[in-house]
Structures are given as structure tokens and as C-alpha cells.
């Protein structure tokens, strides 16, 4: 309907070029970093080869930057190249080179930001990560995360129609007598409907796999963290990784990357002892950090273990109490680590804020339906286990009815669902609480939180949810079932509704909202009389 040629076409071509340049440069930067790290352990000859490779990549980066008219990047690439040559001759100066690579990365982001195709810049930046997966350079096509998502949307719509078809088919068949039902035509229709379902399920599986990237793409970054932190803290560290081919949903990659990075940094800084101390303890001078990833039936498990000093529960407990948390003597390690601002390191050093970081990591992992577990043996080490769902796109949820509306509550947060009995309800300091497992849990009527209801309902169900070690009993009218739901984000125009994690589309095409237990708890900062 537009008149004349589309003025956006040139723009699109240019943007595509910028995007291509951006993605390719990121791949090259990753490769350079990979080649440079671990150089020290190599014999002179392979070492030389690696440096040559780094120079080759830098040279290409330089040329491409020039072609894109990005003079600053071009010059920087040139300088780094010189530094590599110097490092090659002197056998040192790696730090400067790595710092240069980081600088290049930052400038690249700045130069290309906003050049991502209209739609979803964030998703596209993620697509860049995806492309960085090792071994995925040739014989593959780059697809933006956004276009995959669009496919998933269409597919779920198709599933909905197939279900509707099934419903009407059932109704139609119910109105027929037995002889008619057995007629070849109807049997054909039924069989076609079944086949359609099977094929759809296969496509769904296929598309889900398309969203997967190997976890190993995150390992390079860990090497870098170990190198940096080891230098800064005076630790000798040996990093061992395995299970790099474990597939992980793209939507989880960012949180996984953040969490793994944090946990590994934590292991170097807090877990490992100094080489001198380790020798004194009879341990090898170099500490060992092991990262293993594995896919299980329903989840991806990433273990980050170190052979350091272990977490001192008593010390942590003391720190938490100092911060004003009232805690029983036997509180477990997990709960302690998830408290904001609690750290055994009182010193505000370069790694300040780590204590806060740990609880933030736990929170972001939980939000995606995952968990962080801690096992620690004093003197022998710590194992942090990161448990992530197979996909971020699909969450198992409890459907609850609240005053004629349906909501989905992620099952990972649900502790128990209880038919509501009034005698278990009490009032304390103007707050309603609910008796549960020998303690008291604050009551939260979802109709009051999300709707117009003025007073808590007197009957229905209490859904006890837990997040961040806090509990709430959510009051609802009915439990409408358990469903795997596809999580879709809410646009910011809807205010990213506090207490909401997104929306999903049910089989009948209805949109319902997904409750965010963590947000709900923040939304209702009731006096903590929790268990």
C-alpha cells in the first residue's frame, strides 16, 4: 500500500552488513581469546603457531573494521597485533593483549548497538552468542533468536487449532450412532487427526532442539575468569571442564553464563587457599576447580567443585546475624547463602559485593525455574550444583482459578496445595497468617493482590509457595490442573506487572498470566513471621 520504493531497503541492507560484521567479529574475538589463554603451558613451537593464528584473526578484524568505516576499531586491532608480536618475541605481555581484546569488544558493542534488525535487539545480541558456539561455523545457517521465537509462536497456535479440531471431532462423533462412527470416512478423519498430532509433536521437539546451544560455549569465558581472578588473588588454579556438548536452551544461556561465572569466581576468591597455605595443608599448590555439565531427563545439571577450604557455616551464620537476620542455629547452608548481603569476607576488596551477588545469582536461577544447591566439607572443598530446567520457554505450572480469572503458578515454587480450612487461619499484627507444617505463613489472597477483592476469601485452596527462603500461602478458589505452559514475555507497555512472570496461551486460545512468586513476595513485604 506504500507508494514508491521503500526507503527502508537501503537501511536494511546496511543493517544486515553491520549485523554480519558484528557477529563475525565476536566469533573472532572469542577465537583469539581461546587461542591466547593457556599459552603458558605450551611448548615453544605450538605456542608460536597459536600466536600466529591470533595475529591472523586480528589482521582480519583490522581489515573488516576499516571496510565498515570504523577507524577506531581498526587502529585498536592494529595496536593489539603489535602487542601480540611483542608478546611473541618476549614471551610475556599477555595481559595487555587480553585487555585490548576486551576493549575491542566494548567498542564493537558500542559501534553496532542499535544496528540490530528492528524487533528485538537483545535477542539478536544473544544470537551472536549462539553463533560463537565452537564448530558451528560452516554447514550451518544463522537464524536470529527472534525468528525462531516467531516459529514457536506459530507452532503453538497450530497445536491449539489441532486441539480444537479434536474437540469438535469428539463432539461430532458423539452425535453419531455406532454404525456411522465405524464408517471409513470417520475412521480416516480420526486417523488423520492422530497423525497430525504426532507430526506436530515432532516439529515441536525439533524446534525446541533448534533453540539449544552447547554449554561448552560458556567454558572459554570461565577460563578467562579463572585467569584474571587467579592473578588478582595470588591463587594457582587448574580449571577442568567436561560435558561441553550438553545442550542448553538459548533462553537460559545468559543466566547460566552469569551464574557459572559468578560461582567460578567465588570458588577462586573464597574457596581456594593461597599456594603457601595449601602446601602447609599438604594439598597441591594449584587448586583445582572442576566444572561438569550433564543433561538429565528433566534438567541440566552443572557442578562447580573446588578442593579449597570449604564454606564455614558458623562464620556465615555469624555474618548473617550481624546483618540482623534472625536465624535458628541449624539453618542450612543454602538458606544462608541466599540471604542478601551475607558474605564471609568482611573486607571490601576488589571482589566486593560478592555476598550480594550470590543471593542475586540464586534469585535469577530460581526465576527461571532452576535451583542452586551447596554441599561443602570443611577443609576439603565445596560443590555448587546449578540445576536448570531443559528449556526456559516451557514451565510446568499449576493453574489456579481466582474470582473467574485463571493464573498459572510455576510448579517449581509450589511447596504444597491444601484445601483451605478456616481454623488454620490466624491474625497476627493485623496480618493474616496460616498454620502450616508447625509454623505460620503469611496469607496472600490472589484476588486482593491482582483484583478488586477487599477481604480474603473464606474458602478455597491455599497454595504454599516458597521463594528466597520465604513462604506465602496464596488463597485461590480452585485448582484447575497442571500444565506445561509456554512462557511469553509481557511488553513493557503493560508495566511488566509486578508479581507477574509473563503470559501463556492455553489450548483454547485464551491468554493467561503467569505468577512470579518472588515478585509476589516482594510485593507483600509483610512482617516476617515465617517458619
Amino acid at each position: 500500500m506504500r507508494q514508491g520504493p521503500d526507503p527502508r531497503v537501503d537501511e536494511q541492507v546496511f543493517q544486515a552488513l553491520v549485523e554480519e560484521f558484528y557477529l563475525e567479529s565476536r566469533e573472532r574475538l572469542d577465537r583469539i581469546q581461546e587461542v591466547l589463554l593457556g599459552l603458558e603451558e605450551l611448548a615453544p613451537e605450538p605456542r608460536r603457531e597459536r600466536l600466529v593464528e591470533a595475529r591472523r584473526e586480528l589482521h582480519t578484524l583490522k581489515g573488516n573494521s576499516g571496510m565498515m568505516g570504523l577507524g577506531e576499531l581498526q587502529e585498536l586491532a592494529h595496536r593489539i597485533e603489535d602487542q601480540v608480536v611483542a608478546a611473541q618475541e618476549r614471551g610475556e605481555g599477555l595481559r595487555e593483549v587480553l585487555a585490548g581484546v576486551d576493549r575491542f569488544r566494548t567498542l564493537l558493542e558500542q559501534a553496532c548497538r542499535g544496528a540490530a534488525p528492528a524487533g528485538d535487539a537483545a535477542a539478536d545480541a544473544q544470537a551472536g552468542d549462539e553463533a560463537a558456539a565452537p564448530g558451528a561455523v560452516q554447514e550451518s545457517v544463522r537464524v536470529s533468536f527472534a525468528s525462531l521465537d516467531a516459529l514457536v509462536d506459530l507452532l503453538s497456535e497450530m497445536v491449539i487449532f489441532r486441539n480444537r479440531l479434536g474437540e469438535f471431532l469428539g463432539q461430532g462423533l458423539a452425535g453419531l450412532d455406532k454404525a456411522q462412527r465405524q464408517s471409513p470416512v470417520w475412521r480416516e478423519v480420526e486417523s488423520a487427526h492422530r497423525t497430525l498430532g504426532r507430526v506436530l509433536a515432532d516439529i515441536q521437539g525439533g524446534v525446541t532442539r533448534l533453540r539449544m546451544v552447547p554449554l561448552g560455549s560458556l567454558f572459554a569465558q570461565l577460563k578467562r575468569i579463572v585467569y584474571d581472578e587467579g592473578e588478582a588473588e595470588g591463587r594457582q588454579v587448574q580449571l577442568v571442564t567436561s560435558g561441553g556438548d550438553t545442550p542448553l536452551d538459548r533462553g537460559l544461556l545468559e543466566v547460566a553464563s552469569e551464574a557459572m561465572g559468578h560461582l567460578v569466581r567465588n570458588a577462586v576468591v573464597h574457596g581456594l587457599e593461597s599456594p603457601a597455605e595449601r602446601r602447609r595443608l599438604g594439598k597441591p599448590a594449584a587448586g583445582r576447580i572442576t566444572v561438569t555439565a550433564a543433561a538429565r531427563a528433566e534438567e541440566v545439571v552443572i557442578d562447580i567443585s573446588d578442593d579449597g577450604r570449604g564454606v564455614d557455616r558458623q562464620e556465615l551464620l555469624a555474618a548473617a546475624r550481624l546483618r540482623g537476620f534472625e536465624l535458628p542455629q541449624d539453618v542450612d547452608l543454602q538458606a544462608l547463602l541466599s540471604l542478601p548481603g551475607v558474605s564471609t569476607r568482611e573486607r571490601a576488596d576488589r571482589s566486593a559485593g560478592r555476598g550480594m551477588g550470590m543471593s542475586a545469582v540464586m534469585a535469577s536461577v530460581r526465576r527461571l525455574g532452576g535451583k542452586v544447591e551447596v554441599v561443602s566439607a570443611p577443609g576439603r572443598g565445596t560443590r555448587l550444583r546449578l540445576r536448570l530446567p531443559l528449556t526456559a520457554a516451557i514451565v510446568r505450572a499449576l493453574l489456579v482459578g481466582v474470582d473467574d480469572e485463571l493464573f498459572a503458578v510455576p510448579l517449581s515454587a509450589v511447596e504444597e496445595t491444601i484445601r483451605f480450612a478456616d481454623e488454620r487461619r490466624h491474625s497476627m499484627n493485623h496480618a493474616e497468617v496460616f498454620e502450616w507444617r508447625g509454623g505460620l505463613v503469611p496469607l496472600l489472597d490472589l484476588g486482593m493482590v491482582f483484583g478488586e477483592r477487599q477481604a480474603p476469601r473464606r474458602q478455597g485452596y491455599a497454595v504454599v509457595v516458597e521463594a528466597e527462603g520465604k513462604y506465602r500461602a496464596l488463597l485461590v478458589d480452585e485448582i484447575a490442573g497442571i500444565r506445561d505452559v509456554v512462557v511469553k514475555p509481557l511488553d513493557e507497555v503493560t508495566g511488566r506487572g509486578a508479581g507477574l512472570a509473563g503470559a501463556t496461551i492455553l489450548g483454547d486460545g485464551r491468554v493467561i498470566l503467569i505468577v512470579d512468586p518472588i515478585g509476589l513476595i516482594l510485593l507483600s513485604p509483610l512482617t516476617e513471621q515465617t517458619v
Binding site: 526507503p7 537501503d10 568505516g69 559501534a111 544496528a115 524487533g119 528485538d120 506459530l154 507497555v493 485464551r510
Partner: protein, 189 residues
């Protein structure tokens, strides 16, 4: 974005950014077609819709499609102009009610209600209107400033008005209508 202009050194009109180029293109059309004619025209296509006995219009270039309303889910704590979210072929589309945006009382959903799916700031947002009217050609050069009796609250969303025969079209700034600003505090509940 740095280094943009260096892409082609021809120094031609291609160096201009989007809007200027559209204007330039429109000019070139006028030069060839408008020979001898005194009054210049710059035609644009808009789509009109009705809300509360008034006729509004949005540029067709920004409207992707028009949907019947098949169900709206309320979003708790959403800013007041947001009527809810709806299912657009598997995509969760936020829907802003033009009535609410213009501080008019909302209507119960009826068979003539439509959702105009609008491109705004790189994403899709639905705009709920009482009814969709027609696709119209308007002359850019004949757009008038909004009359002064328009409430200041409304004038922020209005680009101008246009006389289409007997009818007065109120031309909307879609991006402004669909953005959430400070003061668009959550409706109760």
C-alpha cells in the same frame, strides 16, 4: 552509529536519513507529475477508525493488520490505558484502549470493536477502537493544526486534523498514543 556516512562516498541523496529521503522522493514525484499544476499535493494513505462519535486516523504504514476481538485478558497493575493482552496467532499482544488513552469511559466489548495492530518503536502493540472505518488518501500539505478547543491532555496525541469532505479526521501520533509515560499510573486493582 559511527562511520555510517562512509559507506558510499558518492555524496548522493542516499546519504540522507529516512524521513528526509521520503520527502525528497515525494518532491521528485511532484516535479514530474505536477507540471503546470499550481497546487502541490503529497498524498498519504491513512486508515480511519471511530471512537465515541469522532473519527481518528493512523498512517497505514504503521498498521500491520486489523483484528477482531476474540478475548482480552486483564493485566493487573498495568498502566491505565492498557486494556489487557490478547492472542495474535500465538503472540501475546498488549492492547491499549484508545478510549482509556483519551480519558473516555471504557465500553463493553461488542461485535464492531477492532484491534489495530500497530508498529511502534520496533514492536507490535494493539490499539482497541470502537470500529474501523476506511482507508483514506490524505494530502499532507492540507493537514491543519488541531483546533484550540481540544483538551491539552488529548492534543499531545494529535498530529493534526484533516477535512475529508464533510468529515473531520483527527490524525493520531501512534507512537505517543502507545507509549507509557510517567503519570500513566496503574489503574486500581
Amino acid at each position: 552509529m559511527s562511520g555510517r556516512g562512509k559507506k558510499d562516498g558518492k555524496g548522493s541523496r542516499q546519504d540522507l536519513a529516512g524521513p528526509e529521503r521520503v520527502l525528497l522522493f515525494a518532491d521528485s514525484l511532484q516535479e514530474t507529475e505536477g507540471e503546470g499544476e499550481e497546487r502541490r499535493q503529497e498524498l498519504e494513505t491513512w486508515v480511519s477508525c471511530r471512537v465515541d462519535r469522532e473519527t481518528f486516523a493512523l498512517p497505514v504504514a504503521q498498521v500491520q493488520e486489523i483484528l477482531r476481538v476474540t478475548g482480552l485478558t486483564r493485566v493487573p497493575h498495568a498502566p491505565y490505558p492498557v486494556r489487557g493482552v490478547t492472542n495474535m496467532r500465538g503472540y501475546v499482544l498488549p492492547v491499549v484502549d484508545l478510549r482509556l488513552r483519551l480519558r473516555l469511559p471504557p465500553l463493553e466489548l461488542g461485535p464492531r470493536h477492532r484491534i489495530m495492530v500497530v508498529h511502534s518503536r520496533g514492536r507490535l502493540i494493539g490499539l482497541l477502537v470502537d470500529a474501523v472505518d476506511q482507508v483514506v488518501q490524505i494530502d499532507r500539505l492540507s493537514i491543519e493544526a488541531p483546533p484550540e478547543d481540544v483538551m491539552t491532555e488529548q492534543s499531545y496525541y494529535i498530529l493534526g486534523v484533516y477535512h475529508l469532505g464533510e468529515e473531520l479526521l483527527i490524525l493520531l501520533d501512534a507512537d505517543r498514543v502507545l507509549e507509557v509515560r510517567e503519570g500513566d499510573e496503574a489503574a486500581s486493582g
